[in-house]
């Protein structure tokens, strides 16, 4: 890996990420436009302060942290592909796994972006750098989250980079070099999930979150929504590129999604039972979420549609003949993805603050700034994902490979 080789690799990667059909350019152009809108909205927020959001002292986390929470789940989902492919030697997922890791990278970048835009003093984040600042580890769960998220990002950049770089040079990747990291990333994926759940579950002040089921439910819903997203993405790739995805991959993914969605529903049922069978004062957040409290019911339509989508999608997926139809499978995955986005985002974060510790019931409505910053960050995620997938496909299909005589001598051609 000499610097010139790296330079050449990134040059080629840049070229293949920036060239494409008209539709690709329109797509990327559209995303850029949305990112610019988001950047403008963020500049307003920087100027005025977080006052331009819908948050306040009562509901002090809103849309940003909701999206962050959901995206951690999306990032962790890559592991459902990684595990069988690299460790169980189930080659079925071979082509899809790089895509899954691309999703993880994009999701993590979005996670970090959402946390950053949520800060009141983003220019002071250097206070978190150990030695230079003060890193309150291991007391604060937030510092754990910073560690695991960045570590997971590094792992998900390193492994695919190594694989693609080898392929680019026509070298067979050395298993001993990357499998240890893959194993690590599997545990790490569970880690980012649990740590993020502990961020909430570790707060006795908020009974809605202070709940041992929070972590496991996080995992189940993530392992449904994440692969659902990857499945949608593979559907798009299969349809619009010359990179064919084998049917068996869709089938296996569909199975994973179905099982995870079913487990998630069981846990939801168990949670609802505890909250509503003999409602205590601690059930008030759930009451607020599902039925509204003292005339405040901003979240009710959201959570009800989430539950309906969840039930509908899980039902579709559970019936074999329906699941086997590609169109229905893709539609069900999309609905499931949306359902979890609502449930794990707004449906988890906001009700934790309602009612407040002193009984205040306040509604939360995201402001236009929040909505546009959120849209901008999602556009950035899709932008990164599109570029990564484009390059990965170009290498996998052999369209992008090292040329010239100065390349490293391939030990074993593929």
């Amino acid at each position: 890996m000499s610097p010139t080789h790296l330079f050449q690799f990134f040059g080629d990667a840049f070229l293949s990420a920036t060239r494409g059909r008209l539709a690709y350019h329109v797509w990327m152009g559209g995303l850029t436009f949305l990112m610019l809108l988001g950047a403008y909205a963020y500049s307003v927020q920087l100027q005025e302060g977080l006052i331009v959001t819908g948050m306040n002292d009562h509901i002090s986390w809103g849309m940003y942290i909701s999206n962050f929470t959901f995206l951690v789940g999306l990032a962790a989902a890559a592991v459902m592909l990684v595990l069988p492919t690299y460790i169980l030697d189930d080659v079925d997922f071979g082509g899809a796994v790089l895509i899954g890791e691309g999703v993880a990278v994009a999701a993590l970048v979005m996670c970090l972006a959402f946390v950053t835009v949520d800060l009141g003093g983003p220019h002071r984040v250097w206070h978190m750098i150990p030695k230079l600042g003060y890193f309150n580890w291991p007391r604060s769960m937030l510092t754990w989250d910073v560690l695991v998220l960045n570590g997971y990002l590094a792992l998900n950049v390193m492994v695919p980079f190594y694989l693609l770089y080898s392929r680019y040079h026509g070298v067979k990747p050395d298993k001993r070099k990357y499998v240890p990291f893959v194993v690590l990333s599997v545990f790490w994926a569970v880690g980012i999930h649990l740590v993020t759940a502990f961020l909430y579950a570790g707060l006795p002040a908020r009974p809605f979150w202070h709940n041992a089921l929070l972590g496991p439910r996080f995992l189940a819903s993530a392992f449904a929504a994440g692969p659902a997203f990857i499945l949608m993405l593979l559907g798009v790739i299969d349809r619009f590129t010359d990179y064919g995805i084998r049917v068996v991959i869709f089938d296996k993914l569909a199975l994973i999604i179905t099982v995870a969605a079913q487990i998630n529903l069981v846990m939801l049922g168990s949670e609802l039972f505890v909250e509503f069978y003999q409602p205590t004062e601690h059930a008030e957040s759930a009451v607020y979420l599902f039925f509204g409290l003292n005339g405040h019911d901003a979240l009710v339509p959201w959570i009800r549609s989430a539950v309906a989508l969840n039930l509908g999608a899980t039902l579709c997926l559970s019936i074999h003949p329906l699941r086997r139809r590609r169109g229905i499978l893709l539609a069900a995955s999309t609905l499931l993805f949306l359902a979890v986005w609502i449930e794990k985002g707004m449906g988890l974060v906001v009700p934790g603050f309602v009612p407040g510790p002193l009984g205040d019931v306040v509604d939360y409505h995201p402001s236009w700034v929040e909505i546009w910053v959120t849209v901008g960050i999602w556009a950035m995620g899709f932008f990164i994902l599109s570029g990564l997938v484009k390059v990965a496909i170009a290498i996998e299909t052999g369209r992008m490979k090292a040329k010239g005589g100065d390349q490293e001598v391939p030990t074993e051609s593929l």
Binding site: E48, G49, L50, I51, T53, M55, N56, D57, H58, S60, W61, V115, D118, L119, G120, G121, P122, R124, V125, H127, M128, K131, L132, G133, Y134, F135, N136, W137, P138, R139, S140, M141, L142, T143, V146, L199, G202, L203, P204, A205, R206, E281, E284, G352, F353, P355, G356, P357, L358, G359, D360
Partner: protein, 345 residues
């Protein structure tokens, strides 16, 4: 130091996270040992000044940018220099006495430029043998809210967003839950058939807000006061989510205090001006109480419902209340041990 011994220290530090937990240290020597320990860390691990110098050197362009951004008043070089140094100063608990004095000088100069009138910023440390506690007499409070007004003025609270540390709840007789209480009433008091209960930060002995802060910008002082370093807080609001008593307030926008009503008798950890995007809260009027005075709310209360004092002094009024009245605290089951009791006559 030889290489092997430095590796050994490193491993030991890794295996013994206690050594990393200066901010959570509750030992009586806490404040001092923390500063010393930190100084050692700074000296051995990395010369911070050098590192900062390197950053400053490498980022000359960035420096210019930050200076420009920080000096909207025309960027006189001395002021720009002060703002630059302010930006790169340490967490208050990590500072040496000299560094504390330096930042106070800078802050005083900057404030004098900004607001036409130099404040007096103390850094008075916790006094030995003092642990502050508070008691609130529900039988006496009539809901006049003079305490709220006094607090706003004393602590330079943001007038723009009407920030209040203290909340007075109006509760119907026979009720106890705050959920059924009215936390914002606008009628003549006392209202028939109601009683009044005030809340603020309770300065918990086991404060969850302190544990969760990722940068150690908030901590419990030796005299039991939970404080925030306004210049260190990054505004993540995790502490606000962790507080079970709605004790914390965030500066959602740049706070506004008319220059003529700024209280210029200030404490670094107390009522000095805050900025946009940082957390703040009641400090038991640290700028007054560490000088032996009562908090502004206690002094302002016309009914004598508020009792404040040293829990370690057996002859204090607060100890009398705790020994002779029926007292209770909010949400005892959470184990936060608030140093704020309610009692009835």
């Amino acid at each position: 130091m030889t290489k092997s011994s430095s590796i050994k220290t490193w491993v030991r530090r890794l295996l013994n996270p206690e050594a990393l937990r200066y901010l959570a240290a509750d030992d009586p020597e806490g404040d001092r040992s923390f500063a010393e320990g930190a100084a050692q860390v700074m000296d051995k691990q990395l010369d911070r000044r050098q590192a900062l110098k390197a950053i400053a050197g490498a980022g000359a362009a960035g420096a210019a940018l930050v200076q420009a951004a920080c000096a909207p008043l025309g960027g006189r070089s001395e002021e720009a220099q002060h703002r630059w140094e302010e930006f790169f100063k340490k967490n208050y608990r990590l500072m040496t006495e000299t560094e504390r004095a330096e930042t106070v000088t800078r802050l005083t100069k900057l404030a004098a430029d900004d607001r036409g009138g130099a404040p007096h910023i103390q850094t008075t440390p916790a006094q030995p043998g003092v642990l502050f506690g508070y008691a609130f007499n529900i039988s006496k409070c009539k809901g006049y809210q003079d305490c709220v007004k006094a607090c706003i003025h004393e602590n330079n609270l943001d007038r723009g967003e009407n920030m209040q540390y203290i909340r007075i709840f109006e509760i119907e007789n026979g009720q106890q839950s705050l959920a059924s209480a009215n936390g914002s009433y606008y009628h003549e008091v006392p209202a028939d058939g109601h009683y009044y209960l005030g809340t603020q930060c309770f300065h918990c002995e086991n404060p969850p807000c302190v544990d969760v802060c990722p940068v150690g910008a908030t901590w419990k002082e030796e005299d039991g006061i939970v404080v925030v370093d306004y210049d260190w807080c990054i505004g993540c609001r995790y502490c606000q989510a962790a507080c079970p008593y709605f004790g914390r307030r965030f500066n959602w926008s740049a706070p506004q205090v008319p220059p003529e009503s700024v209280n210029r008798e200030q404490h670094y950890l107390g009522n000095r001006p805050r900025k946009k995007g940082v957390m703040e809260k009641c400090t038991f009027c640290i700028q007054r109480t560490r000088q032996g005075k009562l908090p502004a709310c206690v002094e302002a209360c016309p009914t004598g419902a508020r009792v404040f004092g040293n829990l370690l002094d057996p002859n204090s009024e607060i100890r009398y209340v705790l020994a002779n009245k029926k007292v209770f605290r909010l949400k005892e089951e959470l184990g936060t041990e608030p140093k704020f009791w309610y009692f009835t006559d």
